[in-house]
Symmetry: C2
């Protein structure tokens, strides 16, 4: 039993008195309490791989901001890691993989499925500890990167403005791409099952680089794999957030996930006009709204709530940016929490 079950009731299309709110990257640099822990460590990866610390920063926004859900502090790149591609996080640059995928032999060498997923004990331990510390206050969200997004990093070896190497792989080596996506997908499935088994109440799939593709590529290289994850990970509500994939919104909604995440470029009213009022939506304030005046933050939130008109989990359309003024984050959350449908 969960005390604040607003998120779960919204997902189940039950009646709710207001939309729930949580923020992508709420466990992170916006909180001084997070920065204090982070600065005492050698790096981000130490935080990800140390269960009691990951649990501590996961719970911080529940305690300090009063959000309606916790999301486990982790990284989408633990999947490539457990498959055999180690990564580093270079300060102010982002992830870096010394080894990348270039050939079939590279793909063949990857571990996948249960043997890979089972290596991530530190994630499952962090979930167990977090559940204990949350003590039923709010639901706990687990997550994974989508297959295409993880594949992008495994090919590129780092972030990219264009992801042209990863996309080139789709055009040049479509069969190898499918082979790689398949191995990533079965690993994600086992990983998410283990997250659920260790206490995740809701699961979110992040397709962060969806917007680099187009409808044809998304239909071939993304939709079938996300579909399989949704079909095989059962008994837990699932959120699909494909950032920038406006061109495949029909197909994304058609996947039948419990919740569709929207980025800030997608107009709420247009979404409702296209897809009706019953699909549960998560999103989608522009994170940069939070740099503005507090009254504008509040107004933007109220406008969004009114445009979605229910079946809505308040969130940003992207992770909260690290230099966001904390008082505006609090004002956003309080505005939503004092709203009544």
């Amino acid at each position: 039993m969960i005390d604040n079950d607003l998120l779960l009731r919204t997902i189940n299309k039950e009646s709710v008195e207001r939309p729930p709110i949580w923020l992508m990257r709420q466990a992170g640099r916006i909180l001084p309490e997070y920065r204090a822990i982070r600065s005492s460590l050698s790096g981000f990866i130490e935080l990800v791989t140390t269960p009691h610390l990951a649990a501590e920063v996961t719970v911080q926004p529940v305690d300090i901001l009063g959000v309606d859900a916790a999301i486990i502090f982790s990284d989408i790149l633990v999947i490539p890691e457990c498959m055999g591609l180690e990564y580093e996080l270079i300060e102010k640059k982002g992830p870096y993989f010394p080894k990348t995928i270039k050939t079939k032999a590279d793909i063949d060498k990857l571990i996948s499925g249960k043997p890979a997923a089972e290596k991530l004990a530190y994630v499952y331990d962090a979930l167990t500890l977090t559940k204990k510390e949350l003590n039923g206050r709010v639901p706990l969200i687990g997550f994974a990167g989508a297959p295409w997004t993880l594949m992008s990093y495994m090919i590129e070896g780092q972030g990219s403005k264009t992801f042209s190497k990863a996309k080139a792989f789709l055009y040049k080596e479509p069969e190898l791409a499918h082979l790689l996506l398949e191995k990533i997908t079965v690993t994600i499935i086992e990983y998410l099952k283990l997250k659920k088994a260790n206490g995740a109440d809701v699961l979110q799939i992040f397709d962060s680089w969806a917007g680099m593709l187009n409808a044809d590529l998304y239909a071939e290289f993304c939709i079938p794999y996300i579909k399989r994850i949704l079909e095989e990970v059962t008994g837990v509500p699932k959120i699909v957030f494909s950032k920038g994939a406006y061109f495949s919104m029909n197909e994304i909604v058609g996947l039948g996930a419990d919740v569709v995440g929207l980025d800030w470029t997608y107009d709420p009213s247009k979404f409702r006009a296209q897809f009706g009022s019953e699909q549960v939506i998560q999103g989608n304030l522009d994170p940069c709204v939070l740099y503005g005046a507090p009254e504008d933050v509040g107004n933007a939130a109220l406008e969004m709530i009114s445009e979605f008109g229910g079946r809505h989990i308040c969130n940003l359309g992207h992770g909260v940016y690290p230099d966001t003024p904390l008082e505006n984050v609090k004002h956003l959350i309080n505005t939503v929490k004092s709203y009544k449908y």
Copy 2:
């Protein structure tokens, strides 16, 4: 008089035997002849500011690839430069502005309009030389960055994954943002007039960071300024390319530019279904198609041509990437050139 006037006839909605083709960034690293000149110089900016060299690399793709238009080799950042913000180009990192815009005083200090635009003699000289070397073979395209895109760099001081500083400025300081956009706009207008006076047959406006915004921001901070440029720069055809701004496509088409550029995410058939068959379109192959097999490149081009169904200037949906196999670029161009409507 221009020998190959396919581009101009397409823009004028006259009958044409096939779509014209040129590629964004065709004068650049894909050509060994470009790399030879570039490597003999201290940097990119030396090439931009040396008229006979800029003219030479502008003409290269006409000679070597047989494209139907030349686009003057230059940089959108010459506008901030002439307004008083010098920039450097750091190899493998991109542009860097030591001074950025933070306050009203910073904006007040900027030169704008004719006095700023007139400082860019090297651009106009490059156009004059290029016209001479082209000797009427194909039309010459001039271009400018759109006000928002230029403002982004002037605030951020460099590229960014999120452009959150520039967007924060829109939310925090909307009046100052308008003041800055106004000064940039009047400078662009004078600049484009001078480009036209010095031989540009067509002008393109690049709103490269349009996709960072949303419909509301684009309506307030972009559309009115692009509209003003289109209204005040007369007697020359104009192309508007707002990358990623699917959310404002109604308003962009509504601007009434001669040509609308589309990025690779926008489905050609969907565009025609939404906006009819008469709007002249430029685009929009995914540049990564060019990493694939030659027959797939040809097929993708033919499919695109068929989906647009006329009133179409073939191009990519983004600049050609520097490591693109040259034989595929040639195959694309030859496929289009042997097509018959």
